[in-house]
């Protein structure tokens, strides 16, 4: 990490801010804290952070309000902290423009992996490599070929597009809506049924096991996440 990316933490719990600050600073990030929604929006505007860590449960306003406030003028990455029972809040945050989430309680490794994935594209106006290698999978976008441990894998056009979409966002959440809109068009944004069938076929062909996944991880009710290139695949 060359440039010390500035990260804004918006959370009302001081202990959480403290432990996140320690984790982030040990990774070389610069940390800005806000304890309320109002301070959060203000800090987002003034400090120009590279990414925002946003808790959904804030004392003075809904975390979603902060998210919407930021989205009015910026597409800066936002990582939402959600709680397990709050499925609705998580989906609403993604709909409102959050890029990803972690479910509390979470480990620092998982948290840092998510954040790294979010920041990866930043600043580099994607030269979009035509070949991705993740684990023993090699995906060639130009040639439209996939090999697994050097053995060719035969995929249909759609399966390949799906694999490419997921793998090119490795480590990041890709929502069902994003996938459906990209592959099937906006009219099919709700047809998650298709998606499940294709993901199942794709998993079978690349030798992935949903009950013990190595490549494609299901984010229940939200979407999928391809393992990241690094050792910390979550």
């Amino acid at each position: 990490m060359t440039s010390a990316a500035r990260i804004l933490i918006v959370d009302d719990e001081a202990p959480i801010r403290r432990f996140l600050r320690i984790a982030l600073e040990s990774e070389g990030y610069e940390v800005v804290e806000a304890g309320t929604a109002r301070d959060g929006i203000r800090a987002a505007a003034h400090e120009q952070p590279a990414a925002v860590i946003l808790d959904l449960g804030l004392p003075d306003a809904d975390g979603l309000a902060v998210l919407r406030g930021i989205r009015e003028w910026s597409q800066m990455p936002v990582l939402v902290l959600s709680v397990r029972s709050d499925e609705g809040g998580k989906v609403a945050a993604l709909d409102a423009g959050a890029q990803d989430y972690v479910t509390k309680p979470f480990g620092t490794r998982e948290f840092l992996a998510r954040l790294r994935a979010l920041l990866r594209d930043r600043g580099e106006p994607s030269p979009s490599p035509s070949v991705l290698e993740i684990g023993d999978l090699r995906i060639d976008a130009a040639a439209h070929t996939v090999t697994k441990a050097s053995e060719p894998v035969r995929l249909t056009r759609r399966e390949f597009d799906l694999l490419w979409l997921l793998a090119s966002h490795a480590g990041r959440l890709v929502t069902q809506g994003q996938i459906l809109r990209t592959l099937w068009g906006p009219a099919h944004a709700e047809d998650s049924q298709y998606l499940r069938v294709y993901v199942r076929q794709l998993r079978a062909k690349i030798g992935d096991d949903a009950s013990d996944p190595r490549y494609i991880f299901t984010e229940p009710g939200v979407g999928y996440r391809f393992r990241s290139q690094g050792p910390d695949h979550i």
Partner: protein
């Protein structure tokens, strides 16, 4: 100064207390129309108005008198309510308008007035009672001949009977009575001057009524009536204030109610005597088998009499007496401390009845006089016109009419033929025995009357056909004459005995029948388990027993009354009927058809109560024969008691189950507390301890030790997280806040998610997954089902030995997918396999620290069942070791349209 032993009589205090909150009643009592009651009332009302009292004239009859109209001019007059009756529009007092208007004082003229049909009450005095109950003071007017118990006397004095009567109770309960006295001479002058309004009665009758002698007598009556009430007030005051006696001994007075019209007089005599002696009185009706066979007219009369007695303040009682009614009456009287018995003098009898009576059946009056020597017995003589049929005691069947007597000549004719045949074949001396047989047969089949007739006819026939000289009624031999006479006596006596036997059998049968019905009813109603069952049993069985439509109404949550059951099923009734039901509930009295309150309703409503607790209102739709037959009354009352018992039983059962629920809740609360204190704290102790070691470390800890401490904190933190998640899930289940959102879910995804979440806890267990490739998707809520799987895997790791595999398998089973998690642990004893799904149930485990919160499986079951699935535990191996938790999840049905 008061003697501490002298406490006010509770009843008297209660009576005064009951009056509090009620309006005060003032009666302007006059001896005759025209004495100026209305005028006096208006005068008093004006005086009150000047004092600032809010007075309203609800109904005042001025009869066109100018002075009266002038008096009324200054008072606010409420509009009357128009009613259409027989094509004419009549106006009545607007009771609801008055209640809504709520003046301090209402003027309601002519208390004895009978309301037009369609009004809420039959009588205006009932309206007045309601107005008083609403806390409004009332001024009213009344002529003395309308007072119930004086009605008879007035009729006897004047020869004119007024039909409109007011119960004495109204005067008894009046707070003030003002006697409007006018000397007869002056009244007559006013009459002649046309100042007295007389209803369109025949002029002759008017002249007769206003005869001076009558007026003098009436004036005396009204003076006495007023004086009596003053006396009563004084007495009540003394009782309420514990002023020592002298009190008359608390003996009571009893009036025997029979269907004889003279009973009406007896009741009035009883009321006056009881008033004078200041004792309570009881109206007693006797039920016997014969009473079962009374005409419906006679039953109505008895019901009328009982109602009259009730209105006059009597306590009602009914006894059953199969044969010896007199003894039963006397025994009742002794038990109830009765000193004096009043009954009506029965009218004249037919010769046949006299004969029957001579043969054994006495009159009630005579038998009472003979057997009840220790009682003071008053025989009231009647003035009422009697109906065609006479009164008898014991009451005799009348329904079958004279037809039954036809049996007598028929039997004698048969006997004569038989005797003739025998006489020709083998002349026998004792042919009279054949006639005797005939008489006994008639007695057994038709009762005493026809038997006596048969005896007489047999006597004549035997004499005529078989006694020398034959074919004449003369008797040659003295011996023959004696035989004949003995025959007459013997046949009458045996006939009577046979008839009594028959009556007794019938009485027993009727009683057995009624008891049977009640027993049946009780049994069927008692078998209901839930309130709905019991309500249904009640309405269907009441309907079956009484043969009429039945309703049950009970209070709803808003304090209203609602139909809770009906046979035939019905859930709405007309407003009018509902009003009657409401009244029955509020007043605790029978209302509706056949009663004095809202008699135009279709239903008869009877309050159902257990002790002082009001439970429900029972509605019976009686046929066109609106009156409740008297003999159904005890049955209906008994049924109402049974209904009350059944409802009370249900209420108690509900209360009991609430208590049990409460105690179960209590057990759970205790378990929760101990769970929170133990399971929540243990990880915290470890975390705090480990964190403390790390924080206080001055560099002495080896790097491995630091790592171990940090890992301990992480593990215990995760354990705490799972525990909190359990508590949250449990709370959601408990509060019914669970809203499963089933979607098509890949079982493999589920397994993957759960394994991922438990990856650390499962580190030391090989996981074997066996999912068929063609496994269909399941239709479940992803989050909930994932949690279930997490709990099952967590348990498998807890109970299975480390290093032994945990197996996850699935297969299709019809329209379900069976998903199972098996461990290699010690297994669950068969008898515990259901119990483990209870809350805070933990299997005793020597390895205590492994035991979980006791919530995991309860949550698993709750979540799975909320989605229409099932979960159960079984053993993996024959020897009972290993636990397999089996989930059955609904398969997702592919929507073919998409």
């Amino acid at each position: 100064m008061a003697d501490p032993m002298l406490r006010p009589e509770p009843d008297a205090l209660l009576a005064s207390a009951a009056r509090e909150g009620r309006g005060r009643l003032k009666v302007f009592l006059g001896a005759a129309p025209g004495v100026g009651k209305t005028y006096a009332m208006l005068e008093a009302a004006q005086a009150r108005q000047r004092e600032g009292v809010d007075v309203a004239a609800a109904v005042v009859e001025t009869h066109g008198r100018h002075e009266t109209e002038a008096m009324l001019r200054d008072l606010p007059v409420l509009p009357r309510r128009p009613l259409v009756y027989k094509g004419r529009i009549l106006t009545e007092m607007d009771l609801d308008g008055l209640l809504a208007r709520r003046p301090d004082l209402a003027l309601i003229d002519e208390l004895a007035h009978t309301n037009v049909e369609g009004s809420r009450h039959e009588k205006r005095w009932q309206d007045v009672e309601e107005v008083l109950a609403a806390g409004i003071d009332v001024y009213t007017t009344l002529n003395v001949q309308h007072v119930e118990t004086l009605n008879e006397t007035v009729a006897r004095i004047t020869g004119i009977r007024v039909r409109e009567t007011v119960p004495d109770r109204m005067l008894d309960e009046a707070d003030e009575i003002e006697l409007i006295d006018l000397p007869p001479e002056e009244l007559l002058q006013r009459l002649h001057a046309g100042k007295v309004y007389v209803q369109d009665q025949a002029a002759r009758a008017v002249r007769a009524f206003f005869a001076k002698g009558n007026l003098v007598a009436l004036r005396e009556l009204s003076l006495r009536a007023a004086a009596d009430r003053v006396d009563a007030e004084l007495r009540e005051h003394m009782a309420a204030h514990a002023i020592p006696g002298p009190w008359p001994a608390q003996d009571r007075l009893l009036v025997v109610v029979t269907e004889d019209p003279v009973t009406r007089d007896a009741i009035r005599v009883a009321k006056r005597s009881a008033d004078r002696a200041r004792t309570e009185w009881i109206a007693l009706s006797v039920l016997s088998s014969q009473a079962e066979r009374l005409t419906s007219e006679a039953k109505d009369r008895i019901a009328d009499f009982l109602r009259l007695a009730e209105r006059l303040g009597a306590e009602l009682a009914t006894i059953e007496a199969e044969h010896d009614a007199v003894a039963e009456v006397l025994s009742f009287a002794r038990r109830h401390n009765v000193r004096r018995i009043v009954l009506g003098r029965p009218g004249a009898q037919t010769w046949l009845e006299r004969l029957g009576r001579w043969a054994g059946a006495g009159t009630l009056a005579r038998d009472l006089l003979r057997q009840g020597r220790d009682f003071e017995i008053t025989i009231a003589s009647g003035s009422a016109p009697r109906p065609g049929r006479r009164t008898e005691w014991p009451p005799r069947r009348t329904r079958e009419g004279l037809g039954v007597y036809a049996a007598a000549p028929l039997a004698i004719a048969l006997a004569t033929s038989a005797a003739w045949a025998i006489d020709t074949l083998i002349p026998a001396p004792s042919l009279s025995l054949i006639y005797m047989t005939a008489v006994v047969a008639v007695a057994a089949i038709r009762g005493i009357g026809p038997a006596v007739l048969a005896a007489a006819l047999g006597f004549l026939a035997h004499n005529f056909f078989f006694v020398e000289p034959r074919h004449t009624f003369t008797v040659a031999e003295r011996g023959e004459l004696l035989t004949l006479l003995l025959f007459l006596v013997a046949s009458t006596v045996t006939g009577n005995l046979a008839a009594q036997l028959r009556a007794r059998v019938q009485a027993q049968r009727a009683i057995v029948d009624r008891l049977g019905k009640l027993h049946d009813f009780g049994r069927r109603v008692a078998s209901g388990a839930t309130r709905d069952d019991v309500v249904w049993a009640i309405v269907s069985n009441v309907a079956g027993t009484l043969g009429c439509d039945t309703l049950l109404l009970a209070p709803d949550d808003d304090g209203g009354l609602a139909v809770v059951g009906g046979f035939p099923p019905e859930d709405r009734i007309e407003t009018r009927d509902m009003t009657a039901a409401r009244f029955a509930w509020d007043k605790g009295e029978a209302t509706g058809r056949g009663t004095g309150t809202l008699p135009t309703a279709d239903w008869y409503f009877l309050p159902v109560r257990a002790g002082d607790r009001r439970l429900a209102v029972l509605g019976l739709r009686l046929g066109d024969d609106a009156r409740l037959a008297l003999l159904d009354r005890p049955l209906i009352d008994s049924l109402a008691d049974q209904v009350a018992l059944a409802l009370e039983r249900v209420r108690l059962a509900e209360e009991l189950s609430r208590t049990q629920l409460a105690s179960e809740t209590e057990r759970l609360r205790t378990a929760l507390l101990s769970s929170v204190s133990h399971d929540l704290r243990t990880p915290l102790v470890t975390i705090i301890g480990a964190a403390d070691s790390l924080a206080e470390d001055a560099g002495s800890l080896a790097p491995e030790a630091r790592l171990t401490l940090a890992e301990t904190i992480r593990e215990e933190g995760q354990r705490l997280d799972r525990y909190v998640q359990n508590l949250l899930d449990m709370t959601r289940l408990e509060h019914g806040a669970l809203r499963p959102r089933p979607i098509a879910v890949d079982v493999a995804d589920l397994v993957g998610q759960a394994r991922h979440r438990l990856r650390r806890a499962l580190e030391r267990y090989p996981i074997e997954v066996d999912l068929p490739a063609d496994l269909p998707m399941v239709d479940v809520d992803l989050t909930l089902t994932e949690q279930v799987l997490v709990n099952l895997l967590d348990n498998a790791a807890k109970y299975g030995p480390e290093g032994r595999p945990i197996r996850i398998a699935a297969r299709t089973l019809g329209s379900e997918v069976e998903l199972s998690v098996s461990d290699d642990g010690p297994g669950i004893p068969p008898e515990q396999r259901e119990r483990v799904f209870g809350m805070f149930v933990r299997l005793e485990d020597s390895d205590r620290h492994r035991a979980g919160t006791g919530l995991g499986l309860a949550i698993a079951r709750g979540f799975i069942e909320a989605q229409g699935g099932t979960i159960h535990a079984e053993a993996v191996r024959e020897d009972g070791t290993g636990t397999r938790m089996v989930l059955a999840l609904p398969t997702f049905q592919e929507d073919l349209t998409s």
